[in-house]
Amino acid sequence: MTTTTAPHTHAAGQPGRRIAATVRDGLAVAWRNLIALRRVPRLLVFSTIQPLVFVLMFRYVFGGVVGPSLPPGVSYVDFLIPGIFVQTAVFGSMNTAIGLATDMQTGLMERFRSLPMARSAVLVGRTTADLARNVFVVALMTGVGFALGFRIHAGVLAFLGGVLLVLAFGFAMSWIFAVVGMAVGDPETAQAAAFPVLAPLVFASSAFVPVHTMPGWLQAFANHQPVSQTAQAVRILVLGGPATSAVWQALAWDVGIVAVFAPLGVWFYRRAV
C-alpha cells in the first residue's frame, strides 16, 4: 500500500541546508538552461554578434571623434574595450528576462512550482546560466579586442580582476531583469520594457565616450550610475592607476542590486500565477 508518512521536510528553517538546496537545485536548472543554449545556437550567436557590431562601429566610426578628448597616451581601443565588456554584460542581462518570461508561458514553470525544489532555484539557475554565457562572450570580445589593437597595460592579474568585475556586474543586472521577466511574464514585453531602461544606462555613461564631453546635468547622472562606475573600475584595472576605490564602488553596486532584486525576484516567483 501507499506510504502515507511524509518524508522529513528538508530546508525549512536551517539556513545552511537552505543554501545547500538553493545551490543544488540552482545548478540543476542552470544545467538545463545551458543545454538549451547549446542546442539553440542562435541564442548564443545573437548575443555575440551585437557586441561585435558595437566594437567595430565605435572603434572605426566614432574613434576618430572621441580619440582627441581622451587623456594623452590613451588609445581609443584601450578605452573602448572595457566599455564594450560592460555594455555586453548589461545588454546580455536582457536575456535573463526573456528566458524567464518564456518559461512562464510554458507549463514548465507550473511544474517547477509543484516540485520540492528551492523557491529561488529557477531564478538562480537562470542567472547562473547567463553568467556562464557572459564568460564565453567576454572571452570572445577579449580576442576581438586584441585583434583590433587592444592591449593590457597593468598586468594580466589586474585584467582578470577587471573581467571578474564585469561578470559580477552582469550577474547583478541579471537579477534586475529576472524581476522584470517574472513581472511581465511574456518575452516580447520583457524585451520592449528592457531597452528604454538599458539604452540610457549604457549610452549616458563612460562606456564609450569620456563623460566630460557631456552637458553638466548629464555628467551628474553619468558619473554616478553603475555602468560608468563599473566601466571606470575595469578601465583602471586595464590601463593602470589607483583602482581600489573604483573597484569597491563597483562592487557595492553589485551587492546592493542583488540584495534588493534577488528577494524581490523570489517574491514574484512565489506569487506568480
Binding site: A6, P7, R39, T106, E110
Partner: protein, 326 residues
C-alpha cells in the same frame, strides 16, 4: 476510518471579482481514481493548482495525505506528481534529459536518476526517441513524457489535469491502462476531464463541477441509476414537430422530455415499456420520428440533467481553462 488521501473543505478561490471556486468539498480515498468532471472554465484546473501548491486558496483548506497544502507546502510537494494540460516539458532537452532534470529536482539519489529515467522511457514507449530533443516529438509523445515526468519521484498522489485531451484513441487507451496499473500499485489519482467516458472508465468516484461549484458527488454508477439507466432519443423532422411531440409525451405519459433542436431525450426508469407507448401516441398525432435510439445513459446525460447544458466535448487546448492566467 482510513485517512483520506486528499481532503478539500470549503475551498474557494477568487480572481478579483471572478469566482473560480465556490465552497468546494470532497474527499478522495487512498488508492482510488477520483474524477473531477466539468466543462472548460468550471474550476477543475484551479482545484489542481491549489492542491499542487501552485496557487493559494482564498478561503477553505485542502490536505494531501493529512498535510495542509498552504502551511505544509514543502511536505506536500514531496508527495505529489503533476501532469498538466499542456505538456510541461522543456522542448530543447531530450526526453531523457527532461526526466533526469525532474529526478535531480525531486532529490532522487544520484545513482537512481539514470535508471529511473530509462525505466520510464521504456514504459512509456519513448525509448527510441529518448535522446532526441523534445521539440521533435509529436503531441502524443510529449504528453506521455509529461506524465512520465510526473512519475519520476514515484509520488503516492498523482494529479492529472486533462491527461488525454488531444490524444488519439490509441494513446488514450494506453494512458488509461497505465493509470489503472498505477492505482493497482496503491497510487491515488485525481484526474480532471471533460470526457465523460473517461471518468466513467477510470474513476470510482466523480465530482461534477460547474462554474466553480460542486453539483454532484457520487459514483458513476449511482449517478446513472439516479437518472435511469437508459436514454431514449427521438429525432423529429423539424423543431416544431419536436416541441409538439414533447407536449404530447409530457401531457399523456408523465415524463418530460428535454428538447434540443429537433431532438427529444428522455431517461425513464422503464424504457422498453415507455418506448411502445411513445411511438403509438406520436403515430396517432401524425408525428413520426426520423430516428429512434435507445441506449445506456452516459455521464454526458448526467451532466445535461444536472446543469441544463451540455459539456463541451472535443479537444480544447484553450488556455482560458488554466484557471488563473489573466
Amino acid at each position: 476510518m482510513e485517512r483520506p488521501a486528499i481532503k478539500v473543505v470549503g475551498l474557494s478561490k477568487h480572481f478579483g471579482s471572478l469566482v473560480a471556486l465556490d465552497q468546494v468539498d470532497f474527499e478522495v480515498r487512498p488508492g482510488a481514481v477520483f474524477g473531477l468532471l466539468g466543462p472548460n472554465g468550471a474550476g477543475k484546473t484551479t482545484v489542481i493548482r491549489i492542491l499542487t501548491t501552485i496557487l493559494h486558496p482564498s478561503a477553505g483548506r485542502a490536505e494531501v495525505l493529512g498535510h495542509d497544502v498552504v502551511r505544509e507546502a514543502a511536505t506536500v510537494r514531496r508527495l505529489i506528481g503533476l501532469a498538466g494540460q499542456y505538456a510541461a516539458v522543456d522542448p530543447n532537452l531530450t526526453g531523457r534529459e527532461n526526466l533526469r532534470l525532474i529526478g535531480r529536482l525531486t532529490q532522487l539519489p544520484r545513482s537512481r536518476v539514470r535508471p529511473r529515467a530509462s525505466a520510464l522511457l521504456e514504459r512509456f514507449d519513448l525509448a527510441a526517441a529518448a535522446d532526441r530533443p523534445v521539440r521533435t516529438y509529436s503531441g502524443g509523445m510529449r504528453r506521455r513524457l509529461d506524465v512520465a515526468a510526473a512519475l519520476v519521484p514515484e509520488p503516492p498522489v498523482l494529479f492529472l489535469d486533462e491527461p488525454t485531451t488531444g490524444l488519439d484513441p490509441q494513446s488514450r487507451n494506453a494512458l488509461w491502462e497505465l493509470i489503472r496499473e498505477l492505482v493497482s500499485d496503491g497510487t491515488t489519482v485525481l484526474l480532471t476531464t471533460q470526457y465523460l467516458e473517461e471518468a466513467d472508465q477510470l474513476a470510482e468516484r466523480v465530482v461534477v463541477v460547474d462554474e466553480g461549484r460542486v453539483i454532484a458527488d457520487d459514483t458513476p454508477a449511482a449517478l446513472k441509476t439516479h437518472l435511469g439507466n437508459t436514454v431514449i432519443e427521438l429525432d423529429m423532422d423539424d423543431q416544431s414537430d419536436a416541441v409538439k411531440a414533447a407536449d404530447v409525451i409530457a401531457g399523456r405519459l408523465g415524463e418530460t422530455p428535454q428538447v434540443e433542436g429537433t431532438r427529444l431525450r428522455l431517461s425513464p426508469r422503464n424504457a422498453s415499456g415507455l418506448l411502445r407507448g411513445i411511438l403509438n401516441l406520436l403515430e396517432a398525432d401524425g408525428l413520426v420520428p426520423r430516428t429512434v435510439a435507445v441506449r445506456e445513459s452516459s455521464l454526458d446525460d448526467v451532466f445535461l440533467a444536472l446543469t441544463g447544458h451540455r459539456t463541451q466535448t472535443g479537444p480544447t487546448t484553450d488556455s482560458a481553462n488554466t484557471g488563473g492566467k489573466p
